[in-house]
Every structure is written in C-alpha cells, then in structure tokens.
C-alpha cells in the first residue's frame, strides 16, 4: 500500500514539475510585467488559432 502512495506522491510532484517546465518553455517567465497591465485593457486583440500557433512557436 505504502509503495503505491509513494508512487502517487512522486507522480503528483512530477505533474507540477512538468507544468513548470511547460510554462517556462512557452515563455511565461520571459516577461513578468506586461501581462499584468494587459489584463486591465477592455478587449483583447482578436487572434485566430492558426496565428496563435505561429506566435508561440
């Protein structure tokens, strides 16, 4: 039983690690100021899915 729980705990922690790596990879840590201002603007620019792919490449 305890072995399964240990496995789970590491899996959960690993999920958080992957989330962190993913967020770093997608550039969320590149700029930690502008998004905080951008969210205050009334409407966001229209971006279609195709262009989003290219932008986050």
């Amino acid at each position: 039983m305890i072995f399964i729980l240990i496995g789970f705990s590491i899996l959960v922690a690993g999920a958080f690690l992957i989330a962190f790596l993913w967020s770093a990879r997608s550039g969320q840590y590149d700029d930690d100021y502008t998004p905080s201002v951008r969210m205050l603007f009334d409407d966001t620019p229209k971006v279609s899915s195709l262009e989003e792919d290219v932008i986050t490449k």
Binding site: I2, F3, I6, S9, I10, A13, G14, F16, L17, F20, L21, A24, R25, G27, Y29, D30, D31, D32, Y33, T34, V37, R38, L40, F41, P45, K46, V47, E51, V54, I55, K57
Partner: protein
C-alpha cells in the same frame, strides 16, 4: 481613440529614410518568420515607458487592418508584430510605428540575427528540476532521519534509497552541468577558480552516496548534494537577472543608419549601408547621419559632430570639402560622394584598435584566490585525517576522507558572493546605475582615479535646458527665430536653435549680421529678428523691462521685445559637492573634453580648482590618456556619453556610459548611469567597496560552519542527518545575512 497617449509625436517625419526596408535582403534579415499570409517581426522600441504605450502598441491592428497582432514586452522594450504581407509591407509597419511616435531602433547590429532568451529558459529548467529533485529527496529522507536509521518495514528503506538515486541523476547530469563545465574550463586554462572545488565536492558527494546505496550500506548524502546544487543555481539565477532592455556591447554599427539613398543617373534608390561603395553618390537629408567619409558635392553643409568629437558647434562645410562619417547634417539637403566604405571610415578606425577585440573584465574576482587557500587548507585537513586513521583504524579512512570533501564544500563562499553582488546589482539599479554584471562591482571598488567627459556627462543634454518666457511667439516667428539663431556661432544661440522644433529648413535669412559675443540679427520674410544679450537689445534704444544678464537670450521681433529664452545652468546639479566628497575619498579627478577651452574658468570654479582639465581631446587621445594613467598603475573609472568616448570607456577599468534617457543608445560600456544621478558617483563607489567587506564577513561565518562540519567529518562520524541540517542552515543564514547587510549598507550610504 487618442492617437498618441503618453508620448510626444515628433514633428519631423521623413518617410524616405525608411526606404531601405523595401530591400528584400534587409527584410529577410529583420523578420523572424515569413509566409505568404503572415510575417513576424520583433522591434526594439526604446520609447516604451508607460502602460498607455502598451495599450497603444497592442492595438495596432485597429489602426491598420493588415496587422494581425502586436504584443509588447515592457521590460525588454520590444514589440512583437505579426502582419499580413499581402496587405501591408514591413516598411509601412515601421512608418506607422514612427508616425505614432515609436520609431523602432533598427541598427546594423540587429541584422546579425540575435538569439532569443533561450539561455534564461535553460537556467529556469535546470533550477526547476534541481528544486523538484531536492525537495522530493529531502522528503523521502525524513523517515530515515526520524526513525534514527531503523525503518521497520521490510524493503522500504531500500526503496527510498533507490528512488532518491533515480531522482538525483537529472541533478547530477543536467542541473549541475554548468558547474562542471565552468570548473573544467578553468582547469584547462590552468586556473583554479571557485567552481573546481565545488565540482569536486558534488562529485564526491554523489559518488559516495551511490556507493552506499548500491552496496546497501546507507542512504548516502543525496539530499545535501542536490540541495547544494539547487542553492547554487538559485544564487546564479538571482545574480544573472540582468537588464535585458540595455545593450552593453554596442559598437559603431549600432549608431550608423541602416539605409542610405543612393542617386545613380538621376534615379534615387535605397540600399543598405553595407552595400555602399566608393564613388557612390548619396543624398543626405536634415538630421541624417553621414554613413561613410565623403566629399560634399552639392548643398550647404552644417555638420554636427557632437556625437563623434564632443564639439558642440556644428561645422560649416562647403562644396568640395571632406565630411567624416558620424556627423549629422543640420539643415538643407546634401549630395555626397563616398570616398571610403563605411567600415573603413575615420570613426570606425577606432574600433580597429586592439582593445575592442577580446573580452574585458575577465574573471579576476578576489573570491578566486580565497577559494585557492580554501582548497589548499581543505586538502591538508583531508590528508591529515587520512594519515591519522591510517595509523589507528584503516576502515575509517574512506568515510572520513569523503566526509571532509562533502562537508567542506566552498559553496557557501560562492553563495555569499553571488547573493551579495546580486542584491547590490538590484540596489544599484534602483538608483539608476545599471551594471553589466557582478564583476563590475569589484572593479568599481578598486577605483582610484576618476576621469569625466564634459559634454553630455557633466552638462545636460541640449534639448531639455531651454525655456521661453514672455509674449508667446507665433509659429512663423518661431521659424524665423530658429533660422536666425541657427546661423549664429554662439553656443547659447545654438542651444536656442536646437530647442525649437524642426521645420522646413529652406526658409532663407536675409541681412544676417552677427555681433560677436552680443547677438545676431536677420530678416526672415518680413520679420526682423534680433536675438542676443540684454545689452544688445538695449543698445538699439528700445526701452525694455530690466532683464537679467547671463544665461538669458533675449528676443526682439520687428524692434518689439518679445521675451527671453532661459538657458538653464548647463551643468548638472551637485557637482561641486561631488568633487568635494571625491576629494575626501582621495581619488584623483580629471575632466576630458572634445570641446575647446571656453569653459575652463567655469569648470575650475565648479570643482574648486581640485581638478585637472584637458581640452580638444580626440577620441584616440582620450583613449591614450586612460592608458597613460593605467601605466602608472591607476585603476581608472571613466564616465562618458557619446561615441567619442567609446574607446576611453572600453580602455578604462570601469567604463560608465551616462545617458539622460537610459533607453537611448549608449556606447559599449560596463555600466549605464542615468544622467540625473551623476552626482551620486562617490556613493556608488563607496557602496561597491562595502560589498567586499560584506562578502568577507560572510566568508568568516561560512568558515565557522565549516569548522563544525569538519569536526564531525574528520572523526568519521558525519551522518547524513548532520549534513542535511548543516547544509541548508549554513546556506540560508548566509543568504539572509548578506542580503540584510547589503541593503543596510545601501541605506547607510543614502542610496
């Protein structure tokens, strides 16, 4: 929608100068990605300064339908633009940005593709993985510690150990790779830097732990080993948080225009400057920079060389005269014939000087000699304990030797330096002194000679110092005043001219007469303009209100006194006090100027005669002067601004570029200082010196921890629990101590 919130639209807008952006080769070098329906490009916009800027720049798609998306990075002062090349060209995008007041800074050096923030992200990955592995290994080690090493359930202990072993592998092979490669680099150059003993400690820690786990003898020291790596990476990340929007390594290519208008058989075409050849004929418009040494063919040259030589007054050039690259034309259109290619021109020769090849400020930190003593002492302790156990109990040789190497890791030395300097970089930045890296702090601390440039460093930038008071002038009158003052050779008139908005410069001045030291008069259309000192105005027998004399320029239109321009004290505030404090700190002070010695008296008075002055210095002479001082074993700090100081900034031990607008271009340097804080120079120096004391103090603390750890280690009884307590305790207390001390010191120095 307001078309220009938060920024002033500059009056001049000359679309032709973006012509080079139609050149396919230039486009290909600038854009990041291109397809028939979408082009991505990143522009550097030094003007970004407020949230309104972000709003405007992210709504470009509403101004022009061809723009798909624009996204701002405030800290890097960059904007990412995706546009549809079928609807709008790159040139049009740049023109749009320039029109709304955000002209992108595109320079020759941008054409060499720059790499994105891949390095920073790599550091984040390493840090994240090390943190994850450290935390989990720590957690899985707790049962071992709390049970006192007697876990009852069968197989559980081995399971924990093996999971820890698995978790430690990415730390050893990925996260710590930077430490190993730095150590290896040092060793290959036969230089023992601080990374070498750290790398050794990490290798020994992991090797002994793997041996213990595989042979089933114990849990090893993996939590300490991964913890050390994690803390080291945190320190490095903290120290490397640099100023991304600044560029410290600019050379002449950053200053030169990208494109140039070439005229061939009467047809004007835009080509990149790099394509410019000898005997090409080019067109130079108002405010454009001469890209290469050339002969003036047609037009009236008023060349402003302030950027190159520091000389404030524009130089008059006639047809047939040679004009040098780096000068700016002020006034009418010129036609030039190139005599040297851009890379061979006079100003670029400076960069062929050997000081521009090779890196500056190579690692010579005082922590490296420390780490060498540390390593020597460490090895003698290890040898002594081996010798001791050889005699009494050979089974303890291996545990005591490895324990000594594990516990005496000099990482606390490294941590104290990285966190002290990291925090100091932040505090310097708060006071608008932006250092290139932490090594510069130590260089500043060693300074004993200060060399200042005059123009732009001790004096304000021209644009901000002129104010007008009196009867408001109409646009026509302003144009006339500008045209008349522009023709004068007096510095005050020049400053008035420079402060007035740019306009069509084809307006002619008639009956221009200059009275040396008094003023200038002339007629533009039907306006008779008289500009000068109050005596000059009074002498014409017109009763005027008693104006002050001195730094005022009085204006009379059609014999009616209108008011006066006040030229604020050109020199920055707090300079006499600064000179006094520097004198107390016993540094010698020099001022170099590319200008003539007209200001000699003012400067002497300003610095209470405690200063040595040199005038009419060419860029090369400035550089040679610094070298001369260094040959006398002086550590020189140079404060300069323009391209003319670039060589001296590079040659000096610490080169600080002064800028009134830190987002502007500044020459290659070790640090960028906001002009408003020049008077804090002495405080910066003494703060840098306190940094060394703080690091030394924390070294002593870390040695105390090492003594405790070693007392366990040499007896061969270092348990993983002791190591697991000692390691984070020492690291965290040192980090807290140095952060608190450096912040306290900054407050004490009024920074």
């Amino acid at each position: 929608m307001d078309s220009n919130p938060g920024i002033k639209v500059t009056g001049k807008f000359i679309a032709e100068r973006f012509g080079y952006l139609d050149d396919p080769a230039t486009i290909a070098k600038l854009v990041q990605f291109s397809s028939p329906t979408q082009t991505n490009v990143v522009f550097h916009l030094p003007q970004i300064h407020c949230s309104s800027c972000i709003f405007l720049l992210e709504n470009l798609h509403r101004i022009d339908g061809g723009i798909i998306k624009s996204q701002t990075n405030f800290q890097k002062k960059e904007v990412f633009v995706a546009f549809n090349p079928a609807q709008i060209t790159l040139r049009k995008v740049v023109e749009l940005l320039a029109f709304i007041g955000y002209e992108p800074a595109i320079s020759l050096s941008d054409l060499k593709k720059h790499t994105p923030a891949a390095y920073n992200r790599g550091q984040l990955y390493k840090l994240g993985i090390a943190g994850f592995c450290f935390a989990n290994i720590m957690m899985l080690s707790f049962p071992e510690y709390f049970s006192g090493g007697h876990i009852e359930e069968a197989g559980l202990r081995a399971t924990f150990s093996w999971i820890n072993l698995g978790l430690s592998l990415p730390v050893l092979f990925y996260s710590a790779s930077g430490i190993f490669s730095a150590a290896w680099k040092g060793l290959r150059q036969r230089y023992l830097n601080i990374d070498a003993p750290i790398a050794l400690a990490i290798i020994v820690t992991f090797a002994r732990s793997y041996y213990e786990i595989i042979s089933g003898r114990g849990p090893g020291f993996l939590d300490s080993g991964t913890g050390i790596t994690f803390f080291l990476l945190v320190g490095r990340w903290f120290q490397n948080k640099t100023y991304e929007s600044f560029s410290f390594d600019r050379d002449y290519t950053s200053y030169f225009p990208l494109g140039v208008t070439v005229i061939k058989n009467g047809i004007e075409t835009n080509i990149p400057v790099t394509g410019l050849k000898k005997n090409d004929r080019i067109i130079l418009r108002n405010e454009e920079m001469i890209p290469a040494d050339a002969i003036l063919i047609r037009g009236n040259g008023q060349i402003d060389y302030s950027f190159v030589s520091g000389e404030n007054t524009p130089v008059q050039k006639k047809e047939g005269d040679l004009v040098y690259a780096g000068g700016k034309q002020i006034g009418s259109l010129l036609e030039l014939e190139i005599v040297h290619e851009a890379s061979q021109s006079y100003i670029t020769q400076l960069w062929n000087n050997e000081i521009f090849s090779g890196a500056k400020n190579a690692e010579k930190s005082f922590i490296h000699p420390w780490s060498r003593y540390f390593t020597a002492v460490l090895f003698s302790i290890a040898a002594a304990s081996v010798a001791y156990w050889w005699k009494y109990d050979t089974s303890k040789i291996f545990p005591s030797l490895t324990a000594v190497l594990i516990v005496a890791c000099p990482c606390s030395l490294l941590l104290s330096a990285t966190f002290t300097y990291g925090n100091m970089l932040r505090l310097f930045g708060k006071n608008k002194l932006y250092l290139k890296n932490a090594g510069v702090i130590e260089s500043i601390a060693a300074i004993d000679t200060i060399v200042l440039d005059k123009t732009g460093t001790l004096t304000h930038n021209r644009a901000s110092v002129v104010q007008y008071e009196g009867t408001p002038l109409t646009d026509k009158e302003l144009v006339a005043v500008k045209q008349v003052t522009r023709q004068s050779s007096h510095p005050l008139s020049k400053m008035v001219a420079a402060s007035l908005a740019e306009h069509d410069s084809s307006v002619l001045v008639k009956d221009l007469r200059e009275y040396a030291g008094k003023g200038v008069e002339g007629t533009v259309h039907n306006l008779h303009i008289k500009v000068g000192s109050s005596q000059f105005i009074n002498e014409s027998d017109i009763p005027v209100v008693s104006y002050d004399t001195g730094t005022h320029v009085h204006v009379m239109v059609n014999e009616v006194p209108m008011g006066r321009f006040t030229v604020n004290n050109q020199y920055r505030e707090g300079l006499p006090q600064l000179a006094e404090r520097i004198q107390k700190q016993k540094e010698s002070l020099y001022v170099l100027s590319g200008d003539n010695d007209a200001e000699k008296g003012t400067l002497k008075a300003l610095f209470n005669n405690k200063i040595q002055l040199r005038f009419k210095q060419s860029p090369q002479q400035k550089l040679d002067f610094i070298k001369e001082l260094q040959d006398q074993n002086k550590n020189v700090l140079m404060l300069g601004d323009g391209l003319n100081d670039a060589g001296a900034l590079r040659q000096s031990n610490v080169g600080i570029a002064v800028s009134d607008n830190t987002s502007q271009f500044s020459p290659a340097c070790d640090a960028i200082l906001d002009g408003a804080n020049v008077h804090l120079l002495d405080r910066f120096i003494s703060f840098a010196r306190s940094g060394k004391q703080i690091v030394t103090a924390s070294f002593i603390l870390s040695i105390a921890y090492n003594v405790v750890g070693l007392s366990f280690a040499v007896r061969g009884i270092l348990s993983p629990l002791v190591a697991a307590i000692l390691m984070p305790a020492s690291s965290i207390s040192i980090v807290l101590l140095v952060t608190a001390l450096s912040s306290l010191s900054a407050r004490h120095k009024h920074l």
